[in-house]
Symmetry: C2
Subunit: 146 residues, 2 copies
DNA sequence: ATACAAATGCAAATGATTTGCAATTGTCAG
DNA sequence: CTGACAATTGCAAATCATTTGCATTTGTAT
């Protein structure tokens, strides 16, 4: 029942963006591409520990990906950032549990929101993107309380 | 032409929430209540420097306000948080400049978004709130480029 | 005036993220 | 295939916003 995401051709992605095809970066993209939820750096470190990559290297890779818009950094958490593969055609939003801080991905754009973004663009000249995060309590945490 | 916000009765607010009416907290609420944009801690420290409050005290006050839902912390920036008075009847959103990192307040809720939140609530059991932030380039920064 | 919890100041700790620099590695032209 | 060279990495140290422990002060209620 676990939702599995569509894997991507990591090598091709790296090449398209002018990145070297290094073991870490290849693996990072693979991990991110099959994850149903955005992942913190700590998890990415654990899932790549067989490569023994340094934390600084992980951060540098992720920052490069974000810069290239290959990956999106989710800051809903405020403490540690979460990273999620950016899928060109699948614009997503997020929902965060205020109890366990789990961040789930809503795998589609909230209807009509993009249209509204156009209206709001009168305030700014150019709008690149928007981030929408809902905050609530997830089912698991609700069960834990009662 | 500067947009001025409606000031609030800081003393009353503190009392309602069971806080002591201390000089710093009173002043903080006054500053936040007339600010047209969310403010970082550094600015709040500057605007309250006549009181010589310690940074830790500032943070503790702000955290207490956020906990009491008197103030909203905006984390769109990811580096430093921004603080904005929470007005019960005026639900706002934000728009951030990716160039100068200015965060402006959109002083109303994006139409129909709250209705959509109800739909999304099928994913979670309970949804308390949502944060929506647009990212773009503000007029000032666009002018600076050309 | 007294009592007590809340708030503060100060200094030290945290913890995620960044940076400098030398060594390594992937890519590409020759 | 072989260098050359820029991109990537490892390691250690630095940053920087935010938090925390503890002793002291202050606001509020009785
Ligand atoms: Mn959207
Ligand atoms: Mn809204
Ligand atoms: Zn939860
Ligand atoms: Zn700007």
């Amino acid at each position: 029942m676990k939702k599995q995401m569509q894997p991507v051709d990591a090598a091709a992605l790296l090449e398209e963006h002018g990145f070297k095809k290094t073991p870490l970066r290849l693996l990072l993209l693979e991990i991110l591409s099959i994850s149903p939820a955005p992942l913190p750096v700590s998890t990415l470190q654990r899932k790549t520990k067989k490569l023994g990559a340094d934390l600084a290297t992980l951060y540098r890779a992720l920052n490069a990906f974000v810069e290239a818009e290959l990956v999106q950094a989710i800051t809903a958490d405020k403490k540690k950032a979460l990273y999620e593969l950016n899928r060109p055609k699948i614009h997503v939003h997020h929902i965060m549990c205020d109890s366990c801080n789990t961040v789930e991905t809503i795998p589609f754009c909230i209807k009509s929101l993009d249209q509204q973004a156009i209206n709001v663009s009168r305030l700014f000249k150019k709008i690149y993107s928007h981030q929408l995060a809902f905050v609530g309590t997830c089912r698991k945490c609700l069960r834990a309380v009662r």
